[in-house]
């Protein structure tokens, strides 16, 4: 016993984790194999009968998995873009142009001590980041990324989004309350006041849009905006779009409305006492929220996945290439084309520049081949697969807005809490009511029953 204990004591932290995780994983795998062997047939039958369940599980897993890289990307983007705006260099050490820095940040928060202060309400303190993060991830579920590419097409998708997005404030309030710190408490209360106030103009600003669309399904709203970019609702609802943008900025706690974590006033607001992965969850959730409000704006007002121009049918390129039809030729092509192309691409560098060693020429050839392959395969997918083109358009538009949020963060100072509330109740709310009223009037005048 003592020998085992001594060996255990000598292990590093990583070793301890591996020694516990690996047996558990092995057991789980064995269990899964056993389940498949014993009950394989009924399980498959059950899943085949309930495809919605499979779809939901796959979508939920995909959304959960994509939230972290999305956050990493936006964090890196924010660091780099603000650095360039500040005339700094920004991250440039880890990975090409420092692009892996946010990944390293993620690993860092994972390995830090999980600390909770004396006097804190331990349970609520632990649950708060989970609530915040889950509300962000659950919002991702209904965003229409591309035709047919969404977690769920709920007919009250927009309502669901607002409801789930409103859960964030519960998490922030929990964090502020349980931290046993007055700065945290002030941050939590500020977020409650702010989010509750801005929820109203945010919701009212899209009611005009809902009158026009007649549906709350984000998928359907995106479909309605197909065709030329003049069909986008931003041209029919400019005021609504503006109010939505401002209110969504406040909902996402972004500059100039980042009062909940105003570092020059209340240290870090609700996150003051958080460290390690608990803080990491808050951090990721913030950036996932930025992605969500950008994506929501794009889906509602900027045509979602639709391209800004509608190609006339005569111009459309129909690439109906079915790789399966080539038979054994496909196998040979896959085996032979890459090495031949790499050699062909490397040859001019090796021949043309005699100072280059052969292996460096090969590396250049390999990289060029990869670029070529991505361009060819991507281009083929873009032309012949609807969802690839849609996804690219959606992500492109969304990241333009993410950039706008980062840009605002680099430019604007923070508003004061009374100015913030006054702006919501005195300006945004009447403006959104006006927008609703004018839209309703226009609809009645233009489409008399």
């Amino acid at each position: 016993m003592t020998a085992v204990a001594r060996s255990w004591g000598r292990l590093t932290l990583a070793g301890k984790i591996l020694f516990t995780v690996i047996p558990i994983l092995l057991l789980l795998t064995a269990g899964l194999v056993l389940v498949v062997v014993l009950f394989g047939k009924p399980v498959v039958d059950f899943l085949a009968a309930n495809l919605w369940l499979v779809r939901f599980l796959v979508a939920a897993t995909a959304v959960l998995l994509m939230s972290v890289p999305t956050a990493f990307l936006i964090i890196y983007m924010e660091m780099k873009v603000i650095a360039l705006m500040n005339l700094r260099i920004g991250p440039d050490r880890v990975g090409p142009f420092g692009s892996l820095l946010s990944v390293v940040h993620g690993l860092k928060v994972l390995m830090k001590e999980d600390f909770s202060p004396t006097g804190s309400d331990r349970l609520v303190f632990t649950l708060a980041p989970v609530v915040v993060y889950m509300s962000a991830v659950m919002s991702l579920l209904v965003l229409p990324f591309a035709p047919g590419l969404f977690g769920a097409d709920i007919n009250i998708g927009l309502l669901y989004l607002f409801a789930v997005g409103g859960l964030t404030v519960v998490g922030l309030l929990m964090a502020g309350w349980s931290s046993f710190n007055k700065y945290s408490l002030l941050g939590g209360l500020r977020s409650a006041a702010q989010v509750v106030s801005y929820e109203i103009p945010l919701t009212l600003s899209v009611v005009g849009l809902l009158i026009l669309t007649g549906t709350m399904s984000l998928n359907q709203i995106s479909l309605n905006q197909a065709g030329w970019f003049t069909n986008w609702y931003v041209f029919q609802q400019p005021l609504g779009a503006l109010i939505f943008f401002i209110a969504a900025t406040a909902e996402g706690n972004r500059t100039p409305f980042d009062l909940t974590e105003a570092d020059s006033e209340i240290v870090a607001g609700f996150a003051t006492e958080y460290s390690g992965m608990r803080f990491g969850f808050f951090f990721f959730a913030e950036y996932v929220n930025v992605f969500i409000i950008s994506g929501l704006f794009v889906a509602l007002f900027l045509g979602g996945w639709n391209a800004p121009i509608a190609w006339p049918e005569a111009w459309a390129i129909h690439l109906t290439f079915d790789p399966g039809s080539t038979g054994m030729g496909l196998l040979f092509a896959l085996l032979l084309i890459p090495p031949i192309l790499i050699l062909a691409l490397a040859a001019p560098f090796y021949v043309g520049r005699s100072s280059l060693p052969w292996w460096q020429a090969l590396i250049i050839g390999f990289v060029l081949f990869n670029v070529l392959a991505i361009v060819v395969v991507g281009g083929w997918a873009f032309i012949s697969l609807d969802w690839v083109a849609g996804l690219l358009w959606f992500l492109g538009k969304t990241y333009v807005f993410v950039f706008t949020f980062v840009w605002m963060r680099g430019t604007l100072p923070r508003v004061r809490i009374d100015q913030l509330m006054g702006f919501a109740w005195k300006w945004l709310l009447p403006a959104s009511l006006l927008n609703l009223f004018v839209t309703a009037l226009a609809v009645i005048v233009m489409n008399p029953r």
């Binding site: 705006m85 005339l87 105003a262 020059s264 100072p413 923070r414 004061r416 809490i417």
Partner: protein
């Protein structure tokens, strides 16, 4: 023989009230660990209905160093405050009294590390008055030139800090660009980037050199446009202007009562500038205006400083054009023994009046050295300006007075 405590374990903190959780109240309160000593302390540390204490600093991100303020809040509104000083106290005055006259100049430098030359100058001026030294004209011009550069450095950092305390991330880095160029320039002249230790009794340490002049000419050719471009980010920013206007209004009487000087006083409409009011050095020969504003709020204090940058550029221009030839040091003995007596000198710095009062007893060390620092004096007006404002504005009010903790704690 008592066993030593195991490694890594220390004696539990006994009953130090500062680290004890107040079980009855269920909170940590930032009250002092002793019974109230004054009526004011007793009044302040008694909470009214719905009020709470919040301890801001000394590690708070926006207290400009190691200031600690205990705020009494009602919701987010500051009701009362109690600044706690002394976290950076070094005993500069006492150090000066134990060093000879030349050495004590080096102790004056780190008082306000962002405007070091202005901390040296009053001390040097007072020593010169004691010794009755005539400073060469070229040295006077070099002093004016270098200190006006230092004023621009300080003001450009102020603009950045002001924006940072209002939540703007970028202006501080634009301010740092300005600051870095001037710091490099002064480093070429004085040999140091931060604590210059450049002024000497009877002159300056070293004449103008080629690197300094080329850097200065390079910078002066684009300084105006560069500073204007940087300010565009703030001056035309609706959020910034709306937050600053009407914030922390100080009227003229309060300013006099609180002994406020410098830009903060000129923002209330009083054109008091020691360069004009009690002229020293070669300022009577130079042309410059005294910018004033009447509002007395944070925006006025900010704009007065911007106008001062422009006036400083004017002065630097004149200094370059009128720079006389000659020596930069008066002939003085190594060991200075002034006659017994006392001297006082004040200069107009970027924050206000920097002054020194020296008493000599005939030895080679000052008998008493008293340093008047504007940061310390201005910090007391925080007690008048902050109450009634929100926490966010309390920080902005403090930033607009631009205190440097090195000067406050001395």
């Amino acid at each position: 023989m008592t066993a030593a405590p195991p490694h890594g374990q220390r004696e539990a903190p006994s009953d130090d009230p500062r680290v004890q959780l107040d079980e009855a109240a269920g909170v940590f309160e930032p009250v002092p660990p002793y019974p109230p000593r004054t009526e004011r302390e007793a009044e302040f540390y008694t909470l009214g209905d719905g009020e709470m204490f919040i301890n801001m600093g000394p590690q708070h991100p926006s207290t400009h160093g190691v200031l600690r303020i205990v705020l009494k809040l009602d919701g987010e509104v500051v009701v009362d405050l109690d600044p706690v000083l002394g976290y950076l106290h070094r005993g500069v005055e006492k150090l000066c009294e134990n060093a000879d006259y030349h050495h004590s100049i080096a102790y004056l430098d780190p008082l306000e590390y962002i405007s070091s030359l202005f901390c040296e100058w009053p001390g040097v001026l007072a020593f010169e008055k004691l010794l009755d030294v005539q400073v060469p004209r070229r040295a006077e011009y070099i002093r004016v030139l270098s200190t006006e550069l230092n004023r621009i450095l300080s003001h450009s950092m102020f603009i950045g800090w002001m924006a940072l305390d209002l939540g703007g991330l970028t202006p501080i880095l634009y301010g740092l660009i300005e600051r870095d160029e001037i710091a490099e320039m002064l480093a070429a002249l004085t040999g140091q980037r931060l604590l210059y230790n450049y002024l000497r009794i009877g002159g300056v340490n070293g004449d103008l050199n080629h690197e300094f002049m080329s850097r200065l000419g390079d910078w002066m050719s684009r300084a105006t446009t560069q500073i204007e471009a940087n300010l565009g980010l703030l001056n035309e920013n609706e959020i910034f202007v709306r937050r600053m206007r009407g914030l922390g209004v100080m009227d003229r009487e309060t300013a006099f009562r609180m002994a406020v000087t410098g830009p903060s006083l000129r923002a209330t409409g009083v054109p008091l500038d020691f360069r004009r009011a009690h002229p020293y050095s070669v300022f009577p020969e130079l042309e410059f205006d005294i910018p004033t504003r009447d509002e007395g709020d944070c925006l006025a204090r900010y704009l007065v400083r911007i106008d001062e940058i422009k006036q400083s550029l004017r002065i630097i221009d004149q200094c370059i054009h009128n720079m006389p030839d000659g020596p930069v040091m008066a002939k003085l003995p190594r060991l200075l023994r002034p006659r017994p007596g006392r001297a006082y000198a004040a200069v107009e710095g970027p924050r206000g009046q920097y002054a020194a009062y020296v008493v000599s007893d005939g030895t080679d060390q000052p008998f008493r050295m008293r340093i008047h620092d504007p940061s310390f004096v201005h910090l007391q007006s925080v007690g008048v300006l902050m109450p009634g404002h929100l926490i966010a504005d309390a920080m902005a009010v403090m930033a607009s007075l631009d205190p440097i903790m090195g000067g406050v704690d001395k």
